[in-house]
């Protein structure tokens, strides 16, 4: 039963990916996370195995009673294999750290993967909510409702002075982290991305690359997140993030307009070439694929490419990650074979559309 549920979860990418949503041409997804710990239990840094299992079971029981998690599944990480955990990590349902350190940890996933809970990661409880496009309020409301549900059956570590107490001092207070995964090819192209990130850092937001196997910003995807959790209420954090992200999107739209006005033929050529390569290549490493998808995504956003859509491209971005490919083709593959399969998969997806 459990195994079947897990298989179904792994094989089907989250339905929210295809939902579109506000500003989905520029925002791949919004994620909101709340960190909570159980009062009287040691944090994961210091807790013995026996205490961690207690926490895991307490949280599992509380989740079973939570109305917003009705129909969800709970995975005991001890029962999962490493490839399975890697897929969950590529799907952003668990952290990369949890792939390696998994004993006595758990994961609950609601139907559709919009809401999930990591148990005994850095904090006892990490509630996560995903939305397609820009939807900070919706994502926060969903996660906050689950927090209310659990507040009835669990006693959270809290102090009047420091708020929700977390295992790391960087999350204390609201325990709230809002992130938007944004696609900014226009700002990368005109070089303003540096100024924009400096501006965001100035207001204590972090900006970093959000995809890819390696080190760099790949495919012009960035993740913008808040850093301050203490002394700023949830509603102010949500409001701030929403307005800062919208400002960035405005800059990106202006950059795209200028590009269209000043270099339309060049831009169209670049986009169509990228599309041509994606439809015909026989080998694609993930960095090249991401770069090409970025160009086609821009083409879709500008109305230049019309025979494929954002939901296809979003799904492709998830499926061409190394572990997802190996699951799809049901075998362990080296880098060369992966590059071949990646090209095969992309060709098949873009032809079908």
């Amino acid at each position: 039963m459990k195994q079947k549920q897990l298989q179904r979860l792994l094989k089907n990418p989250a339905s929210w990916l295809a939902e579109g949503g506000e500003e989905s041409e520029l925002v791949f997804a919004t994620r909101v996370r709340l960190a909570r710990n159980i009062d009287g239990r040691k944090f994961t840094y210091c807790a013995e195995a026996s205490e961690l299992t207690l926490v895991r079971d307490e949280v599992r029981d509380a989740l079973a009673l939570a109305p917003s998690m009705k129909g969800s599944i709970f995975l005991d990480m001890n029962d999962t294999t490493e490839p399975e955990r890697m897929i969950l990590a590529e799907r952003r349902l668990i952290s990369h750290d949890m792939v390696r350190r998994f004993t006595n940890r758990g994961l609950a996933v609601a139907r559709g993967e919009k809401l999930s809970v990591m148990v005994n990661e850095e904090d006892h409880i990490r509630l996560q909510s995903f939305e397609s496009g820009l939807a900070v309020c919706e994502a926060f409301d969903r996660v906050s409702r689950l927090d209310d549900d659990l507040d009835g059956s669990l006693e959270f570590a809290f102090s009047d002075r420091f708020g929700y107490l977390t295992a790391c001092a960087t999350n204390v207070g609201t325990g709230l982290r809002v992130s938007a995964m944004v696609h900014l090819p226009g700002l990368v192209h005109n070089g303003d991305i540096r100024q924009v990130s400096d501006g965001l850092r100035h207001v204590r937001l972090s900006v970093r690359g959000s995809y890819g196997e390696g080190s760099e910003v790949v495919g012009n995807f960035f993740q913008i997140s808040n850093l301050i959790t203490l002394g700023l209420s949830e509603s102010d954090t949500v409001k701030n993030m929403d307005s800062h992200i919208r400002k960035v999107l405005e800059f990106e739209k202006k950059a795209r307009e200028t590009l269209l006005k000043e270099a339309r033929s060049l831009l169209e050529d670049k986009i169509w070439r990228a599309y041509g390569i994606l439809k015909n290549a026989r080998m694609l490493d993930s960095r090249e694929a991401m770069g090409l998808i970025s160009a086609v995504r821009l083409g879709v956003g500008l109305g230049i490419v019309t025979d494929t859509g954002l939901s296809d491209l979003n799904e492709i971005l998830i499926m061409i990650q190394p572990m997802h490919l190996q699951m799809l083709y049901e075998k362990v593959m080296g880098p060369d074979e992966r590059d071949r399969s990646r090209a095969d998969y992309i060709r098949s997806r873009l032809k079908a559309s």
Partner: protein, 167 residues
């Protein structure tokens, strides 16, 4: 030390990265770190182990303080200052004012504002929070020399405080 990527700037960020079963030491300058994206750094837990350690250790307590322990979980202040990680909720009391200093440095603030568990949602707590928020506004009004507004805020705070004593 010179940045190993641009071989030009001074490397200001140093961390250890585990690549498979190989341990790699990385020395990188700020601009290369930013150009390469923070993903790389985050994977190696850069944020926590290096950046935060700096923030925390500079707030280290007086002599012998580093050996101080949380009675409840046994975590030492030294361990906290290395990772910014705490052992249990009581650590926040055990390391008292030092923690407040660290939090102030990280967040620019050392007092919670926002949601609280239901068991804390008493009227008194609400009033206390409201007072705190008004006091902040009052301070700003005085700084901006908006004395009319400041006077109004002062009255409101006094009323709230009176109300709390009665209860």
């Amino acid at each position: 030390m010179i940045c190993q990527f641009c071989k030009k700037n001074n490397a200001t960020i140093h961390f250890t990265n585990v690549d498979g079963n190989k341990v790699v030491k990385i020395h990188i300058c700020r601009s290369c770190a930013e150009a390469k994206g923070f993903d790389y750094l985050k994977r190696s837990n850069f944020e926590k182990t290096d950046l935060l350690a700096g923030l925390v250790s500079s707030a280290l307590p007086e002599k012998g303080g580093a050996r101080r322990r949380c009675e409840h979980c046994g975590r030492t202040y030294a361990a906290f200052s290395k990772s910014a990680g705490l052992g249990c909720s009581k650590c926040y009391d055990s390391f008292g004012e030092e923690i407040a200093k660290v939090l102030k440095r990280i967040h620019g603030n050392a007092r919670h504002l926002g949601k609280s568990p239901r068991r804390y949602c008493t009227e008194k707590v609400h009033a206390r929070r409201r007072i705190r928020a008004l006091e902040d506004e009052l301070r700003i009004s005085v700084e901006l020399e908006n004395y009319e507004r400041a006077a109004r805020l002062r009255d409101e705070i006094a009323d709230l405080k009176k109300g709390m004593e009665k209860r």
